[in-house]
């Protein structure tokens, strides 16, 4: 599913987090929002998910050509993965992943065997078979983040939004999960936006990179384009290309 962001502005008190940002993401792209902390990249992701609402009335968000600006996060149902996992600690892995089915109205809820099948399938995809009964607190950081991925994917979202998904993990796990994400995207072609402040991560994983600073998009391009032709001093400086 394609995503279009049109003229989004967002202020926190008086400080502008996003100033008139527009962005087109074609279907099946894996795109990285890259920038320093406080640049507005996470805010943009949250506005797309519906966790934050843009200020100006003329700013719009489209999912596959459909205007979703006035839909709440639970109606948009974008798969969202948080930096600190945000797993439900009182539920085991199985119930965490099954959550998006549990909250469906009875008429739309798949029968339990179908849910179980989906959960097992997802656990296999994230290489955590047999972990159904574990509680989140009994898992390592990397395992928790993989459960969070499985949970976000359970009800087949059409877009996947990742907020610094590897930010809290150590270097080795980070590398493995990065590669896993790239492979996963290649096999599913799920439109994916992920936020990071780590340029290596962005350049290694993403099809295109969006550089953001001070609430403005500074440059959009493939990793090689951006490296070869930095658009302005910020990009040159941020990428350390001097």
């Amino acid at each position: 599913m394609s995503i279009a962001v049109k003229n989004i502005t967002k202020r926190f008190d008086l400080y502008p987090a996003l100033s008139d940002v527009s962005l087109d993401i074609p279907e099946s792209e894996l795109i990285a929002l890259l920038g320093p902390s406080g640049s507005g990249k996470t805010t943009l992701l949250r506005v797309i998910a519906g966790l934050e609402f843009a200020d100006a009335r003329d700013g719009r968000i489209f999912f596959h050509g459909r205007d979703v600006t006035d839909l709440s996060a639970y109606q948009r149902k974008a798969g969202f993965v948080f930096q600190h996992y945000a797993l439900f600690n009182h539920m085991n892995v199985y119930e965490n992943i099954a959550f998006s089915f549990r909250v469906l109205p009875r008429s739309k809820r798949p029968p339990e065997p179908a849910i179980r099948e989906r959960v097992v399938e997802l656990l296999r995809a994230v290489q955590l078979e047999g972990y159904e009964k574990r509680l989140p607190t009994q898992l390592s950081g990397g395992q928790r983040q993989r459960v969070a991925f499985a949970r976000a994917l359970a009800n087949r979202p059409e877009v996947l939004l990742l907020d610094e998904p590897f930010g809290a993990l150590d270097a080795k796990v980070r590398k493995d999960l990065r590669r896993w994400l790239r492979d996963f995207h290649d096999s599913t072609k799920l439109t994916t936006i992920f936020v990071t402040h780590d340029q290596d991560e962005a350049f290694e994983v993403a099809d295109r990179v969006v550089l953001i600073d001070k609430g403005l998009i500074q440059q959009i391009g493939t990793p090689s384009e951006v490296r070869a032709h930095p658009a302005n001093p910020f990009v040159t400086d941020f990428l350390g290309l001097v």
């Binding site: 998910a49 519906g50 966790l51 709440s72 996060a73 639970y74 948009r76 149902k77 974008a78 798969g79 969202f80 948080f82 600190h84 996992y85 945000a86 797993l87 439900f88 600690n89 009182h90 959550f99 998006s100 549990r102 909250v103 469906l104 989140p136 607190t137 950081g141 928790r144 969070a148 949970r151 976000a152 359970a154 009800n155 809290a168 993990l169 150590d170």
Partner: protein, 295 residues
């Protein structure tokens, strides 16, 4: 043994720069212990001792008295009404001030604490002023034959006022510390507000909530001042346990007064045990949600 060796080590080289010398620590711990024994533990022992001063039969005799029985039932009834109501109000208030940013938010937090720093007697008088025979709504209430002051509704209102802060105060710091990432996750997974409350937020805060409910209940049963003002002390009608104790005491029925007091004391001890346990679990809860965010 282990204690004495560790003290010697501390004497020679304090573990932390902020650690006090042995004599200072001994003095502080000693003073706290003496205070605790003299002012907290001793009175509790005396209450039970006095309660049984005329023997077990006299103790039991107290509870055959219909007025005593009625006061216990009334106390329980008021608690049964006020505690659930204040639980709901408390959750709503804590939700409101931790989940939303709005003008007057910090004022609202201060307002929640109001019953803690206003004397309960004043709270009682406020209700008399509003609902009493000479009060603002007095004539209207008389016309419709509704009795609030010197009747149970007034006592429920006074108790509601006095016990309002406990649940909210227990929850606000906990909910603030836990943040709302899990709620946001639930939202993106398609849960609506109601489902988030029942499936995510309440399980997250359940021990903190229980802690608040226990404190609220203890205060509801023990409240004297506010209830005393609005009750009218009608025996067998508007006397709760604390009020009944006072009447018995004033009539020189010391053994009976202490017998009823011992029941309240027992409730306090049970409350303390439950509270400690809930507090401990609430801490675990918070640690779990914090450790879940660490790598």
């Amino acid at each position: 043994m282990a204690g004495s060796t560790s003290i010697q080590i501390h004497k020679r080289q304090p573990i932390r720069a902020t650690a006090d010398s042995f004599s200072v620590r001994a003095l502080l711990i000693g003073a706290t212990l003496v205070f605790f024994l003299l002012f907290l533990l001793l009175p509790l022992v005396v209450v039970f001792q006095e309660a049984f001063s005329k023997g077990g039969t006299a103790f039991l005799e107290t509870f055959r008295d219909p007025y005593t029985r009625h006061s216990i039932l009334l106390t329980l009834l008021i608690a049964v009404i006020t505690v659930p109501l204040n639980t709901i109000f408390g959750i709503a208030a804590a939700w409101c001030v931790t989940r939303y940013r709005f003008r007057g938010r910090s004022f609202l937090i201060t307002l929640i604490d109001l019953p803690l720093w206003v004397s309960p007697v004043i709270a009682g008088l406020l209700y008399v002023l509003v609902f009493g025979a000479q009060g603002w709504l007095g004539p209207w209430l008389r016309e419709h034959e509704i009795r609030i002051i010197f009747a149970m509704p007034g006592m429920v209102l006074a108790t509601l006022f006095v016990t309002f802060p406990f649940v909210a105060r227990g929850l606000i710091p906990l909910m603030q510390a836990q943040g709302m990432k899990e709620e946001e996750a639930a939202l993106t997974l398609g849960a609506n507000g109601w489902q988030i409350l029942w499936r995510i937020t309440l399980p997250k805060i359940k021990w903190g909530l229980l802690y608040g409910i226990i404190l609220c209940n203890a205060r509801a049963m023990g409240e004297f001042g506010a209830v005393s003002v609005v009750s009218g002390h009608i025996r067998g009608k508007t006397n709760t346990m604390p009020l009944h104790i006072e009447i018995l005491y004033n009539e020189y029925q010391f053994a009976s007064a202490f017998a009823v007091a011992s029941v309240l004391g027992l409730l306090a001890i049970i409350t303390l045990i439950l509270k400690t346990r809930a507090e401990w679990r609430a801490e675990q809860e918070l640690r779990a949600s914090n450790s879940a965010t660490a790598p």
